[in-house]
Symmetry: C2
Subunit: 420 residues, 2 copies
């Protein structure tokens, strides 16, 4: 047995989270031909938690099929967005009452960025004696390397609030801030490179400029500690289908810091965020608290599938333990790649320092599209990001060290083949 294979055995034997794998349905059929897959694409779509199919069947057959509209009250459908928000809260370092689940990430980015601009302007208006305010806050700063939807939506938010959009690389954000900055939209972990940005320092810099920050947690929530409350984050959004395993297109969430909720002024004030939704009043009056982030009727099937998926976090799994294993997995993957793949064949885009690394490894190689196709054919499932990136996500709840070793070994085999 090769040295990395022996190491994998030892690491798996010492893995305190190894038992969590049983909470997922991973072994029947697999993601590739030839037996069980190594699934390293949980940063795109988390694997199926074992609790989900039964729960969904109950929601469909009994709650919808038999109780029908009574389930809105009797089965807690109506309050699901805030109830499930409170289940996500501890995973991102938030006290209860600050997160609602619903809509897509894109739609929540819109709520959050417009909301942040309005917060900045209302703070300036309230700040001092008349005439003492500085220039109007009319700039939205956005991570220039962001997942595209955040940039498109920020552009729309800028257009609709009379702001200019300023795309800036995250490292340049502190220098770009000023008294015209209204809102800053940043990614906690870069979707392409896996780089982890410095949330505490960047949040403090935005606040020092008198602006409001929106963090996109899609690639960090469920993989590493976020500390929303601790670091005074204003607003945050995230999807639930990556490291939270909510299922394809499961609803996203919106965090609004408790102290800001009274002033949060949503651009999407639907009846679900009304103080008295069944009053059916023609005038809008926003609900107190996180509910203000709701819009229309919540998508119950997907939302309750997510609720069941969150059961995997019960029973003492801590985000700190998940983070420790995540770093061990990515360290070990890099070690195996170095051992197996000829030097220079791939280039690692993900930073080596732990403090700058999310839970994925991005390898650049010129023929990445073709290489990923062959990897998937051999049961090693990652994904390809245009134009030349192999992306491997490591979900500590169900990925083990033997999986990692096998992935690196198969990668080396594929890279050694003629035609790649």
């Amino acid at each position: 047995m090769s040295e990395p294979r022996l190491r994998a055995k030892e690491l798996d034997a010492a893995d305190g989270l190894a038992a969590q794998r049983a909470e997922f349905l991973l072994d029947e059929g697999g993601g590739g031909s030839g037996g069980e897959a190594v699934y390293l694409d949980g940063n795109s779509l988390g694997a199926l938690p074992a609790a989900v199919p039964g729960r969904v069947e109950d929601v469909v057959r009994r709650q919808w099929g038999e109780l029908r509209i009574r389930s809105w009250t009797e089965e807690g459908w109506w309050t699901a967005p805030e109830r499930i928000g409170d289940r996500i809260a501890p995973l991102v370092g938030a006290a209860a009452g600050q997160i609602v689940v619903g809509d897509s990430t894109s739609v929540n980015v819109f709520k959050a960025v417009v909301g942040a601009v309005r917060l900045a302007r209302s703070a300036d208006t309230a700040a001092g004696p008349v005439g003492s305010a500085g220039p109007v806050r009319d700039e939205i700063v956005v991570d220039a390397t962001t997942f595209p939807t955040d940039g498109y939506i920020a552009e729309s938010a800028a257009r609709m609030t009379g702001c200019t959009l300023r795309p800036v690389p995250p490292s340049g954000v502190p220098d770009a801030l000023g008294d015209r900055t209204a809102a800053v939209l940043l990614n906690h972990v870069d979707y392409r490179t896996g780089r982890l940005h410095d949330l505490p320092a960047l949040t403090a810099a935005v606040h020092a400029a008198g602006a409001y920050v929106v963090w996109d947690l899609c690639h960090s929530a469920g993989a590493l500690p976020v500390g929303l409350d601790e670091h005074g984050v204003d607003l945050a959004v995230g999807c639930t289908y990556k490291y939270l395993n909510g299922g394809p297109g499961s609803p996203a969430y919106l965090y609004v810091r408790a102290e800001l909720q009274d002033r949060f002024d949503s651009p999407l004030p639907g009846w679900n965020s009304h103080a008295e939704p069944f009053g059916m009043r023609p005038e809008y009056a926003p609900a107190p608290g996180a509910l203000r982030g709701r819009v229309g009727t919540p998508d119950i099937l997907s939302m309750l599938a997510l609720e069941a998926a969150l059961d995997v976090w019960d029973g003492g799994v801590t985000i700190e333990a998940v983070r420790a294993k995540s770093l061990a997995l990515t360290d070990f993957f890099l070690e195996c790649v170095e051992a197996y793949v000829p030097e220079g064949r791939v280039e690692c885009l993900t930073p080596r320092p732990h403090g700058e690394r999310g839970s994925q490894i991005a390898l650049r190689c010129p023929d990445a599209g073709d290489v990923m196709k062959r990897l998937i054919e051999r049961g090693v499932v990652g994904d390809f990001r245009h134009p030349d990136v192999l992306r491997f996500g490591f979900t500590p709840l169900y990925v083990g060290f033997a999986d990692v070793e096998r992935a690196a070994r198969v990668l080396a085999d594929v890279l050694a083949e003629p035609g790649t």
Copy 2:
């Protein structure tokens, strides 16, 4: 047997749609105690189609659990919004390629109303020689009796586009239109009274004023012919969980008339509406066609449940036959209420003329909240709308005439009880 009971028997025997009831799971457990329920709340949440549970189980266990990300292509997840939009299209009189499914009704109202204002302004800009344009179009007219969310969202759309919101009763809309009108948001059927508004005439009036109309089809789609293409409607939205039986909070849809798609400028330009979504480009370039109405990652579980639910329309069920039965059901319900309930005890808010009636009957009675509670206890499920409305929806695909007679009879019993 009473005269209405005999009539019900005859009507059921002659009902060409009676066999469709078998397409739904209605008999196990029921919605109330004491046997099978009479479910007259399909205008709030449609009953469970028999094809749904098996399909959802396949989506969860095999597509998500086994194929995982491969399902985005292999199982057609990615194209579901437009594919399922094309399944809804014939039910609302639209040719293919004009409807996408996704997001809530509220979010789609926002896209449509902002989109309509931008269409109106771009048309004025394009219309004639420089300087020939009239005053800027800065008014949004909205049905003053609308379901609240439409009004709240229209208010937000007005605020964000520099418009004034003008709430007007639908009958007053033609007189309220002028050369400042940008967009008009109307309900095809009023959620409270069940009144059917004159879509062809109101659409023509809006067009004559040079404005753009958005129709909310929540309470008409699947219950009566809409004729979006025939009547030249510009934009339309609707939910799918009422007469389309998509399940609790199933995704809504957006119709953008083919000729307007190139100019449709969405306020929510997410990566799913990009011309090249996997190009991951920082600049937004809208996709051609109806896809331009998409935003974020589609909610697959709910969306594919809806797709299965739409199977009930296959095999020759026409919307014209559904409409004919709907009118027969509501006529018969009024007939039975007149026969059983003492005059003056309830007041019908739904118009009598067929041309002004949707697929529901709204009865006003001062103690409506308490009455509906008792009705539900006896297995007759409608709903209560604040402050004094009993609302009964008639879904022709699974409601029969004996159901209608029983509902009226139980209503009369409840109304005769002391304390009501």
